[in-house]
Symmetry: C2
Subunit: 201 residues, 2 copies
């Protein structure tokens, strides 16, 4: 029995090694550099071993993405927790989200740009993914306004996603990132209390 346990341990360890190696290569050289041969070489096993752990390359990318969902959820949770009021919480979450996308473009790509083969918003959605989304819902709720919370959440998320992807693709002026977020959030929440209405009709 102990032998099988050891084997299972080793197997789990190798599993994590594969995911970590894939992530490392992707983050330093992009997903194009992540090939099955390269992975096999780096973990010092032959290629078929990888297929004993994952049904295919796509599944490895998926594993990296799910791990990253956990991290993003943790970051946004921390950002939200440290905020004084709903407006600050929203801003903190947005900043954390964009900072994550900017710091880990390859992870962000695996999570939200590449086709994941993971259902979003259904019962089969993995837990890390759902809890990360729940973070956004939580912070949006006070600002839902006329529309329902889920719609408002989708709008906030879409805005952040657009800013993140166009930003990393270098299609927005890099220096104006903070201004863009200001403008977007001001629109989303409405102007701060006490200040005059913004744009004319």
């Amino acid at each position: 029995m102990a032998i099988e346990e050891r084997r299972e341990r080793e197997r789990a360890q190798r599993h994590r090694l594969i995911v970590r190696t894939a992530r490392d290569i992707a983050e330093s050289e992009g997903w194009d550099a992540v090939t099955v041969r390269r992975l096999a070489r780096e973990i010092e096993y032959s290629q078929p071993v990888l297929y004993g752990h994952f049904p295919g390359k796509e599944a490895i990318v998926r594993a990296v993405a799910i791990e990253a969902f956990d991290e993003l959820g943790e970051l946004t949770r921390a950002a939200r927790a440290g905020a004084a009021d709903p407006r600050a919480a929203l801003r903190a979450l947005a900043e954390a989200y964009l900072a994550f996308a900017a710091a880990h473009p390859a992870l962000y790509e695996a999570m939200f740009v590449r086709p994941l083969g993971i259902p979003f918003g259904t019962a089969e959605t993995p837990a890390p993914l759902r809890s990360a989304f729940a973070e956004i819902v939580e912070v949006v709720t006070p600002f839902a306004g006329g529309t329902d919370t889920e719609t408002a959440t989708e709008v906030l998320w879409s805005g952040l996603h657009g800013l993140a992807t166009l930003g990393t693709a270098r299609r927005l002026r890099p220096d104006q990132a903070a201004d863009r977020l200001d403008r977007f959030l001001t629109g989303f929440t409405g102007p701060p209390t006490g200040s005059p209405a913004g744009p004319p009709a």
Copy 2:
């Protein structure tokens, strides 16, 4: 001389055939199905002929994208022209943009998601691309508010881009597309004149 002219004509025709074929395959089966061999088979020439027209596959995708920029620019221009006031113009442009992305996901992907190798917002930016962007600037100007026009343009574009990409990736509820656009544009422009302020602080 006439012979050379005929050859040049034939060459240009084949050039267009390549771009059109690439586009057709991409739109019906996705970019993964667009391979050099497949293209060669469909245009009934061998693969090296393609490399006589384009330096590589990426350049073919780029040609398809630039053509698509022209179309998108035309669509948004028409949408804007038919609008009564600035608010309607903004909405019409946004709807046209999202409709294009939904109707031609492969083209949209080539234009805005895949790395294009085309500089955005510099002097070398191709004309179709610049004029399409100018459309957005035009329609955003009345709603710039406190921030400068270019920043506001980037924010609008980012929002639309996020809605478009997450939409085609099936990560937003399909039925709520109109509600999302409403919510986003209301935030972006501020509430319509005469109506009470939206969300509470």
